[in-house]
């Protein structure tokens, strides 16, 4: 069951790499968030403590609902529908993603988490999520795509956090989730400013400061 959820995280990552529509990016990121929330809850189902319950619920609602909602409103506000022309095309992105997943699997076997009794896929999924997030940030030009990339990266770390028995203390996880929420808030404000100042939210225009 847990493996299935982890596979779903991987698949959503691949989907994120393949889509050009901003709205679908946001939805898939939201779906990934929900999957993670469920994953957090299920991973401790047998002896569910209140704090892990809160973390799982918070992850589900923040990552799966609140943040996507904020981003959807943002898309409406800035009227940016598509990732126009990314540095790396979508099919190529997907192929690279697949390759990266193979690499992540290999790396995960090289670096097994000692005494992990949950799933061998946790570390590969973490690494792959981080890779996907980074890849989104590097290869996309649309500011919202980059935000999604960051979220994906954070999701990867979350997988590691809750995917093993040795998760971080409650306050840390909640703090991290809150930080991400505020970060997206800051970003959405920034993107609105950008849209006003640059008449668009592609980062191609943001190359004046250099040298």
């Amino acid at each position: 069951m847990l493996d299935l959820l982890i596979i779903m995280v991987v698949l959503t990552n691949l989907r994120l790499l393949a889509t050009s529509r901003i709205e679908s990016l946001i939805s898939w990121a939201g779906i990934q968030g929900m999957v993670l929330g469920i994953f957090a809850l299920l991973s401790r189902w047998k002896h569910l403590e209140p704090d892990i319950f809160v973390v799982g619920l918070a992850a589900f609602s923040f990552k799966g609902i609140v943040i996507p909602a904020m981003l959807f409103r943002l898309v409406v506000a800035v009227r940016s529908k598509r990732e126009a022309d990314p540095y790396v095309g979508f099919i190529a992105s997907n192929l690279i993603g697949l390759l990266a997943f193979v690499g992540a699997l290999w790396l995960g076997h090289r670096l097994p988490i000692p005494g992990n009794d949950m799933s061998n896929l946790v570390l590969p999924a973490t690494l792959f999520s981080i890779f996907s997030g980074l890849f989104l940030i590097i290869s996309r030009k649309n500011a919202i795509s980059q935000v999604i990339g960051f979220l994906t990266m954070e999701n990867g770390t979350f997988v590691l956090g809750v995917g093993t028995l040795y998760y971080a203390p409650f306050l840390v996880e909640i703090g991290a989730l809150l930080d991400i929420l505020v970060a997206v808030l800051v970003w959405s404000v920034l993107i609105r400013y950008m849209n006003r100042a640059f008449h668009g939210i592609t980062t191609e225009q943001l190359t004046k400061l250099k040298g």
Binding site: P114, I130, T157, G161, G175, A176, V186, L190, F198, L206
Partner: protein, 505 residues
């Protein structure tokens, strides 16, 4: 006052002042809130520092919060830089207000974020829990991002965007590093809530899984290193520094970078202990340090914007600090000393650059010629600050650079010595070429002179005085504090650096 309430105040007071400032009635009052919040918190910090010097370590909130010599030392730098910057903010925004360029909305943004930024940085320093430390670090990123674009423009937006994105990615890595460390500590016979505490990790390094600790260190180094502006992760730094208002640039360079470096300093002893002091972690630090110095040497030569130039200078000095850390032994001592010296000098440099920028209406070095004639105070400030930064005697930055050099030579690191000296030599040449016309050139006509004010003179004189005194005389207490702090990073007994006969015999 209990430790709990003391630390509570340190975090809460500035945060509260931010809240008040957010809804202040006018600009002056907003600045007043920021000022009082920071200074009040500074008083509490002083109390905490005093306690540490007496009791060595203080804990609170079931050990989640603690202060030892390393963090107390950084706290000293924090309050110095923040108090100075707050005073300068009053000068700076006061001048902007006079020119009707500082709106109420901007004042509210500033006051609303300034105090909380202090809280976040203080939280980084006082938290024993590495996760909370990370939360604090991420919070500084979020809180300071809007400080950059207080003067809203295309450039400042671009800078903010880059800052947010790059630092968030970096901080994301740092979070992964923290998580990996948590995983490495799985065998620790500890309660869940106690497992990420730095003191506990340090006490049980032999139980840690070495490959995971190594991975954690790498992630943390790259992650926090991004925030600290180590090359090649530094690219946000010149943009953010050059586009933000000068008080903000000052705390960026003067303390935020150090805060990130402080986080790395917490990871160093764990890694070194776990890898049995094989110098595994230190190699990376030396590498990053040297690379930062060399890279900034390249960029320092080709700058037009003074704040951008100063930003690259920060990359250099953070590089020197990291280099000192990496050299270990006495180098750590030197690096910690360098932190203070650099912060004082760099914040002064940003103050002067900012104030002069207002006077000249530009931050272009070419256009800022002859600042002595335009403003004797700030002209002295920028000229002296650049001289201090390039290591001119009798200021203490010379001493700390000397100590780093000594550490390198004593370690028989010939290549390090050569690269370090060459790169700093190039930076010296480049910086001095900017500093001279900036100070003593002939100003273009039609630029108003800046009247001399007492507050201005104080802001310029205080750091210079401290740097001067420390350059000629390094009090025993300071040496003891620094060696204790260095001993924390090195997990060694504090060695008070003295060989040869001591004075007074």
């Amino acid at each position: 006052m209990t430790n709990e309430s003391l630390f509570g105040f340190i975090i809460a007071v500035p945060a509260l002042s931010g809240l008040l400032g957010r809804f202040a009635a006018n600009q002056t009052r907003a600045l007043g809130f920021a000022l009082s919040g920071v200074f009040l918190a500074a008083l509490f910090c002083l109390r905490a520092i005093y306690l540490v010097f007496n009791e060595n370590q203080i804990f609170a909130y079931s050990d989640w919060i603690f202060l030892d010599h390393l963090s107390a030392w950084h706290l000293v730098v924090l309050i110095l830089v923040f108090c100075q910057s707050t005073l300068f903010a009053i000068v700076y925004f006061g001048e902007e207000m006079r020119e009707k360029k500082f709106s109420l909305a901007q004042a509210r943004t500033f006051a609303g974020l300034w105090g909380p930024a202090f809280s976040a940085m203080a939280l980084v320093l006082i938290s024993n829990n590495l996760g909370i430390m990370w939360v604090g670090m991420e919070a500084t990123t979020l809180l300071t991002s809007f400080l950059i674009c207080i003067p809203l423009s295309r450039d400042s937006l671009e800078a903010t965007w880059k800052y947010m994105l790059i630092c968030s990615v970096g901080i994301g890595f740092a979070f992964l590093g923290t998580m990996l460390l948590r995983l490495a500590a799985k065998d620790l016979p500890l309660d869940l809530n106690q497992a990420l505490l730095w003191t506990n990790l340090m006490a049980n390094t032999r139980f840690l899984s070495v490959p995971l600790v190594k991975a954690a260190f790498i992630f943390a180094l790259v992650g926090y290193g991004t925030k600290a502006g180590l090359a090649p992760m530094h690219s946000w730094l010149p943009d953010a520094h050059s586009k933000s208002p000068s008080p903000v640039s000052a705390i960026f360079s003067g303390f935020m970078l150090n805060a990130a470096l402080y986080c790395i300093m917490r990871f160093i002893p764990i890694t070194e202990e776990a890898t049995l002091h094989s110098g595994w972690a230190l190699r990376f630090l030396v590498g990053f340090g040297l690379f930062s110095v060399v890279l900034s040497a390249a960029f320092v030569l080709f700058q037009q914007d003074i704040k951008r130039f100063l930003a690259y200078c920060s990359v250099e000095h953070l590089g020197i600090t990291v280099l000192g850390m990496g050299l270990g032994g006495f180098g750590t001592f030197a690096a910690l000393f360098h932190v203070l010296n650099h912060s004082l000098a760099k914040s002064l440099a940003f103050f002067s650059a900012g104030r002069l920028g207002l006077a000249f209406g530009s931050h272009n070095i070419e256009k800022m010629k002859g600042s002595f004639k335009i403003s004797p105070v700030w002209g002295t400030g920028i000229f002296a600050a650049i001289l201090v930064l390039i290591g001119v005697v009798p200021f203490s930055l010379f001493i700390s650079e000397f100590q780093v050099l000594k550490a390198a030579i004593d370690n028989h690191q010939i290549a390090v010595v050569i690269i370090f000296l060459t790169a700093t030599g190039i930076i010296f040449a480049g910086s001095l070429r900017y500093a001279l016309p900036l100070g003593i050139g002939e100003p273009a006509s039609g630029i108003e002179t800046v009247p001399v004010k007492k507050l201005d003179a104080f802001i310029v004189a205080l750091p210079l005085l401290i740097l001067l005194i420390l350059g000629l005389w390094m009090p025993k207490t300071l040496q003891v504090t620094l060696s204790r702090a260095a001993a924390i990073v090195q997990t060694a007994k504090p060695i008070i650096p003295h060989f040869g006969p001591t004075g007074g015999k």
